[in-house]
């Protein structure tokens, strides 16, 4: 018979207990962080009080008093600071959304061109990418702005491209409908809904019959209401045509050189990155896929569109999302070339009211919301294009 010696299991206590240690460390780090934030916040409040600087968001309802160069909603200097921020936000959203669309289109062209077997196209695309990717965006914006303002003709010598359409240093001037653009907007909405509805129906038909759906009936549905309303308006309503004045043009619609320069600069800059992302995505798809496509009788273009790109997108979408975020945030460089975006108007408001902390807090929240919205959309899209079943 042998005695089994039972060794007492000593449970770890205090710092030698890993779970206690990790909990304690986290509590300490959290306490230090909270303490620092609280210290800075009290400091801030104290300093603001000591310098008798007003705090609070009441200023948002006061009259702004300054003029804004471009606005998509009604604006006058007697409107409030809050509305000024809204004007700036819309200006930012216009640039960001148009920039994302344009840079994606240009990026696709660049990405595919850089993989081309054509001895001219591929090196040109590579040159473009290297040139654009390796110079600062701010410098490129200055360049485009200088190109637009230096090279376009003065307003007094502006050529008439089409009846009522002028291109000058002050921008592209074009006629707009005199009364209410609401019917036109409604027509656009109807067109988009019809297009989407037809798309769904056509896809279901295609799955049932095995015949690929045609694109043109959808496009026709998209364009028809707009064209109809535009024609009706063109006959019944009158146009507000830009009239040459001593200092350029009055009336009509206008696209300023600031908006154009910003849009070109942002789109071309981001197109280089997006091109690289797509190139990486396409290269990640094995050659065998293209060859299999060819074996099925698909043309090179069809194989690219139906086989390679859908798989490439799986790789490309996550970096694409961060590129879109970059673009949206880089719209804040607009102030350097005089485009009244959110940042520029926020800057003016800080100068007028001195409420720097509040305005910067609002700007940060807005940019954060914008970025999160883009992220959420790209995550949704990513989940859609991801391989089903592959985690």
């Amino acid at each position: 018979m042998s005695a089994v010696a039972v060794l007492p299991v000593r449970s770890a206590r205090g710092w030698s207990d890993p779970s206690f240690r990790s909990l304690a460390t986290q509590v300490i780090v959290l306490a230090v962080l909270a303490g620092t934030v609280a210290f800075l916040a009290t400091n801030l409040v104290g300093n603001l009080e000591a310098r008798s600087i007003r705090t609070g968001f009441g200023f948002l309802w006061q009259a702004a008093g300054f003029e804004i160069g471009q606005s998509f909603i009604a604006w006058s200097p007697s409107a409030s600071f809050g509305r000024a921020l809204l004007v700036g936000l819309l200006n930012t959203l216009v640039v960001a959304s148009l920039g994302i669309v344009l840079s994606t289109l240009a990026g696709f062209v660049v990405g595919i061109a850089s993989l081309s077997r054509n001895p001219l196209v591929s090196p040109l695309a590579r040159l473009y990418v290297e040139l654009v990717r390796n110079t600062p965006l701010l410098l490129q914006l200055y360049l485009w702005y200088a190109v637009l303002t230096q090279m376009l003709p003065a307003a007094s010598a502006a050529p008439q491209l089409l009846p009522g359409v002028y291109l000058a240093k002050s921008g592209l001037h074009f006629p707009v409908l005199q009364h209410g653009t609401e019917p036109l907007l409604a027509a656009v909405l109807v067109g988009v809904l019809a297009f989407a509805g037809h798309g769904l129906w056509a896809r279901r038909q295609a799955e049932r019959n095995g015949v690929p759906a045609k694109l043109w009936p959808g496009l026709l549905l998209l364009a028809l209401p707009v064209v109809a309303v535009a024609l009706e308006r063109a006959v019944t309503a009158s146009f507000d045509v830009p009239r040459p004045t001593r200092f350029g043009f009055s009336g009509g619609g206008m696209i300023t050189p600031e908006l154009t320069a910003l849009l070109i600069g942002l789109s071309l800059y981001n197109a280089a990155f997006i091109g690289e992302i797509l190139r990486a995505g396409i290269l990640s798809v094995g050659r065998g896929q293209l060859e299999a496509g060819a074996a099925l009788g698909l043309s090179r273009g069809q194989a690219l569109r139906l086989v390679v790109i859908p798989q490439a997108m799986k790789v490309a979408v996550p970096p694409l999302a961060s590129q879109y975020l970059n673009l949206a945030k880089n719209t804040s460089l607009a102030i350097a070339i005089g485009y009244p975006d959110l940042m520029s108007i926020g800057n003016t408001i800080i100068n007028q009211t001195g409420q720097a902390v509040e305005v910067i807090a609002i700007l940060m929240c807005v940019y954060l919301a914008l970025s999160l919205a883009i992220s959420a959309f790209m995550n949704w899209y990513n989940a859609r294009v991801a391989l089903k079943g592959a985690s």
Partner: protein
């Protein structure tokens, strides 16, 4: 470090003499300036005619000349000054922190700045205002004719607000193109993006003189749409220093009114006019009352001339800036320059 006995003794004697010469109760800034033997002035980073470093690195301009006048008045014949170039964002902080003794830039005197920044404006050395620079080819006579024009300007001061107020008050419209910095707004204007460039007249004159391809092709419209009085600023902690700076400015203006110039100040010392004698220290005890010595105003005028001479030399009609006296003329000639009586 070993100090040779003789020069050490000499330094000690000098220090002793200086301590006798200086009134014991001088404020902290005045005291520090005397001890250092140098006045440290904050200046704009480069506005032609007001404060700009020339090709040899010497600072010239109306505001830097004022700094030299103060230095000569306070420090005597061995007067020295150091110029610290400051951006608009840095200038008040530099003064509050004591990095500079006096701010001689183109900073507008406003209630907010005078009352809530711990600073004091010691007077006005230039009455400025926001105006418009336009190409002469437009044939404009007045800013009111700018109805519907695009106007380039920079954010940062109240210029955007002044513009909107002016055009609204006159029932006119304009299209603002607002840039972050003056030089971007200026470049856009010269490229033809805007029909007018709006900024302080002093700056517009400077831009026309040094940045316009051909200064003769540009004009500054007569309208001033805001009041921008520019003056020296000191910290609030030393009223003796503040008073000394204020009265150096008065002395320069008074000198012009009495016809005292850098060239004739020597003869003027023997003038029979009691007002001139009091100013130049040959009669009365004006210097002592300021905590300075009797020759304070004499040295300031001798070094930089009277206010009119400073103006003509730096920004007047014969300089590239081509500015007329207008508001900056003496009160006896329809301007606003008026010195309090020296008695």
């Amino acid at each position: 470090m070993r100090i040779p006995f003789k020069s050490g003794l000499a330094a000690a004697a000098l220090a002793l003499a200086a301590s006798f010469a200086a009134p014991a109760e001088a404020g902290p800034t005045l005291e520090a300036v005397r001890k250092r033997g140098e006045v440290v002035c904050g200046v704009s980073t480069g506005i032609g005619g007001f404060s700009i470093a020339d090709s040899s690195g010497r600072w010239t301009g109306l505001t830097t000349d004022f700094c030299r006048a103060v230095s000569a008045a306070v420090l005597g014949d061995a007067a020295k000054e150091k110029f610290v170039p400051l951006s608009p964002q840095q200038r008040f902080t530099a003064l509050q922190s004591g990095e500079i003794d006096m701010l001689t830039t183109v900073a507008t005197w406003t209630l907010t700045r005078d009352a809530s920044l711990g600073l004091l404006y010691a007077g006005v050395y230039f009455y400025d205002g926001q105006g418009f620079l336009v190409p002469k080819s437009l044939g404009l006579k007045s800013a009111l004719e700018l109805d519907g024009a695009s106007i380039c300007t920079a954010t940062g001061t109240t210029s955007e607000l002044n513009l909107a107020d002016y055009f609204r008050a006159n029932g006119k419209t304009f299209k603002p193109v607002v840039f972050e910095a003056q030089n971007e707004a200026r470049a856009a204007f010269f490229s033809g993006r805007c029909q007018a460039f709006s900024a302080d007249m002093s700056y517009l004159s400077s831009v026309r003189a040094s940045d316009a391809p051909n200064p003769d092709e540009w004009q500054i419209l007569p309208e001033m749409i805001s009041k921008e009085p520019l003056g020296p600023v000191v910290a609030r902690n030393d009223l003796d220093w503040y008073t000394a700076v204020k009265w150096v400015l008065m002395a320069l203006i008074e000198a012009e009114e009495k016809g005292i110039t850098a060239a004739n100040v020597e003869q003027m010392k023997d003038s029979t006019n009691p007002e001139i004698r009091r100013l130049l220290g040959t009669a009365g005890d004006m210097g002592q009352r300021l905590g300075l010595d009797p020759g304070w105003a004499y040295r300031a005028i001798k070094r930089v001339g009277n206010y009119g001479e400073i103006f003509e030399r730096n920004v007047g009609p014969k300089t590239p800036l081509r500015m007329e006296r207008n508001s900056n003329a003496l009160w006896t000639k329809g301007g606003l320059m008026y010195a309090m009586p020296v008695r």
